[in-house]
């Protein structure tokens, strides 16, 4: 299954869910920010050297590192 972290700059995906390894509080915070199942997310920037990537969800822009984004399951090309 693809994850949010696998996205490259400019790619769009739809959130499918979270994997169990993501701690519950983190999951809650992500959902508060709009990262819930069915939501479209765009990867705006994927900086070099493994730095956190920049995603747009709804009307807001967030940066997520791989510790979080790698646990968000997505489907590409929505």
């Amino acid at each position: 299954m693809d994850t949010l972290w696998n996205l490259r700059a400019g790619e769009v995906c739809e959130i499918v869910g979270y994997d169990d390894a993501l701690a519950e509080p983190y999951r809650v915070r992500l959902m508060e920010f709009g990262f819930h199942a069915g939501e479209a997310v765009t990867c705006l920037h994927a900086p070099a050297f493994g730095a956190p990537k920049v995603y747009r969800v709804s009307d807001t822009v967030y940066s997520l590192d791989d510790e979080v984004a790698a646990h968000v399951r997505v489907r590409r090309n929505v």
């Binding site: 992500l30 920010f33 920037h45 900086p47 493994g50 730095a51 956190p52 807001t60 940066s63 979080v68």
Partner: protein, 611 residues
């Protein structure tokens, strides 16, 4: 006085609105156990109403201990009969993010019978881009008035004040129960739907933000911009604050010059000059640095760049248990630990903030420089290598600076791996706010508050310790001979502690007094060796140290000791305040002393093997 609670998510413009409504007339208090400020002050146009500015939060569902305290304080305030109404500020340009919290706030207010007014901020930004918000439709769905405002331009603020007055005059609100039993999961979905239905259409704002991010997050241009901005920040601490620091010292010197000649005897004169003015100067001299750094960091935060800087630094710092937001406090710590500790307030994760507190005292602050200069001049040969390209003393200075930074990172890396505590941690999910011109007044207000906080809270401790050490060094022979003073006797008492690293009581006394500030080590040694002005010209002192036969191993051990030991009462005082934990501060002080001592002992023993 009836109270109005002001709540909203971070970056919604709450501080700006608070200032506009109260006219900067406010007071600041700290919640017990956490480090967030709660400002309050009367509303200018409604003096009978006091506005209470709560910390920005994304939701009322806390995920860390610190958030829990803030939410509990909000819920407790709702039960307070003096709280008459609540203002919930939302960001009209990013509606969905704000609406979840708004719905939770409305639900809690419905449970407590408090009226809510929703202010949709940044309406000027929407106007500028030809975008609109359906405030009426949103108000009907929320069952609460939704008023478009601009905290920056003041647009709509009069209407908002009229609404607050009406709520106040009405005294009792009509009971509303629409959301009273709605669980958080449903509120999340409702926020999503309402944002889609009533929010502005189009993504011109995100597009303009993305264009700037393309520059600031690019691996080349972004890296260059980052280095330039950090250089300016660092310069601000050293260069911009320096004239003000000199002015503080000059003012104190001038005041002492006026007062001291009027005093009748030597004891009064010595006390006034060294203990009283010395004690006041010991903390006042830091104020310009704290003010300037808080101001510059405020500019970076308000402009939106701080979040980008945190993103750039996050990956390497994460290896050591830190976050990208730790970088600026640590960089500030290279100038002085105190503004660095204050700067760590920007770190939202309590765990990462605590780890940053641990790293900051190990950054090679400017107060260590005179100590390093003295010891390197005394023990490292002044020769060069590689055809003059590398000077041994310069290399030693670089080495000891690097050693301090490395120690800070290794300590946090070790602690973060050996003490997993996810309850006080937060994920790295960082909102990247839109770029905007900073609002100068709130930033100046915050800088002033921070400086005032330092003077009123830490100043007392620093002053007291300064006076105590002065008394120990002055009596019983009235300053005639430091070696024969109580401080000298204390030095002999603790001499066995320093004998294993080849140091006698004189160095013990100098280490003890350096607790006031590290550079005092140089001045104290100068006094003991009978050299005037050793803190300004170290050459005679270097000669005396070399002539005293102190082993090179002891000199190197001292260097390592000062790189690690937390020898600064000002740092400890402000650390205890900011961490809200004396226990943490004491453990850190003793822990770093033990580590410094062990490392110094190791260096001394190793040096003994080669000599």
């Amino acid at each position: 006085m009836s109270r109005v609670l002001l709540v909203g998510s971070p970056n919604s413009g709450k501080s700006l609105l608070f200032n506009r409504l109260t006219g900067l007339s406010h007071k600041v208090a700290n919640f017990p156990g956490i480090t967030v400020d709660v400002s309050s002050g009367p509303i200018r146009a409604l003096r009978e109403l006091e506005l209470v500015d709560f910390p920005g939060t994304y939701s009322l569902q806390p995920i860390s201990g610190e958030e829990r305290v803030a939410v509990e304080q909000f819920e407790s305030a709702l039960r307070d009969a003096n709280v008459g109404q609540v203002v919930c500020l939302i960001d009209a340009t990013r509606l969905e993010k704000s609406l979840y919290l708004t719905l939770q706030v409305i639900r809690e207010c419905q449970r407590h019978g408090k009226p809510v007014t929703v202010l949709a901020n940044m309406i000027d930004v929407l106007d500028k881009h030809g975008m609109t918000l359906d405030a009426e439709g949103l108000a009907q769905s929320l069952q609460a008035p939704v008023l478009p405002v601009s905290a920056r331009s003041g647009k709509g603020v009069d209407t908002a004040i009229a609404q607050l007055r009406a709520n106040h005059d009405r005294r009792e609100s009509a009971p509303r129960e629409q959301f009273i039993d709605t669980p958080d999961e449903l509120l999340r979905g409702t926020a999503h739907q309402l944002a889609r239905r009533y929010g502005p259409r189009g993504d011109v704002l995100v597009q303009s933000q993305t264009a700037l991010d393309t520059f600031f997050l690019h691996s080349v241009t972004g890296g260059f911009a980052f280095l330039l901005i950090m250089y300016l920040l660092f310069q601000s601490i050293f260069t911009w604050a320096a004239p003000a620091m000199d002015a503080v010292e000059a003012l104190l010197g001038w005041s002492a010059g006026l007062i001291v000649p009027l005093l009748g005897n030597d004891l009064a004169r010595d006390f006034t000059t060294d203990a009283l003015f010395g004690g006041i100067g010991a903390f006042l001299v830091f104020v310009p640095q704290i003010f300037v750094l808080t101001f510059v960091i405020g500019l970076l935060e308000d402009s939106g760049y701080m979040a980008r800087a945190a993103l750039i630094c996050h990956k390497p710092l994460r290896l050591f248990g830190l976050t990208g937001k730790s970088f600026i406090p640590m960089l500030s710590g290279v100038a002085c630990a105190i503004p660095g500790i204050y700067a760590a307030r920007a770190i939202d994760s309590p765990r990462k903030r605590l780890l940053t507190y641990m790293a900051i005292p190990l950054m090679p602050c400017s107060a260590r420089l005179p100590v390093y200069t003295l010891l390197i001049a005394a023990f490292i040969p002044s020769g060069t290598a590689l055809g003059g390209l590398v000077g041994w003393q310069g290399l030693a200075m670089f080495g000891i600076y690097f050693f301090g930074m490395l120690c800070g990172l290794l300590v946090t890396g070790l602690v973060s791996r050996t003490s997993p505590d996810h309850y006080t941690d937060l994920p790295f999910v960082l909102e990247l706010p839109p770029y905007r011109l900073p609002g100068l007044l709130p930033i100046l207000r915050n800088s002033w508050n921070r400086s005032k906080h330092f003077v009123t809270k830490a100043g007392k401790i620093i002053f007291t310790v300064t006076v105590v050490i002065w008394v120990l060094g002055y009596f019983p022979n009235f300053g005639a001979d430091l070696g024969a003073s109580w401080l000298g006797q204390l030095g002999r008492l603790i001499e066995p502690l320093f004998t294993p690293i080849g140091l006698d009581w004189r160095y013990g006394v100098a280490i003890f007094t350096s607790f006031l500030a590290r550079e005092v080590f140089v001045g104290t040694l100068g006094t003991i060796f009978g050299i005037e002005g050793a803190d300004e010209n170290v050459v005679p002192l270097v000669d005396h140290i070399q002539a005293s036969g102190l082993a090179i191993g002891s000199g190197l051990a001292l260097l390592v000791f000062f790189a690690i030991a937390l020898q600064c009462v000002s740092t400890l005082a402000i650390l205890a305040r900011e961490s809200a934990s004396r226990s943490f501060t004491l453990k850190l002080a003793f822990g770093y002393f033990a580590l410094a001592y062990a490392a110094a002992l190791l260096v001394y023993q190793l040096a003994g093997l080669f000599s």
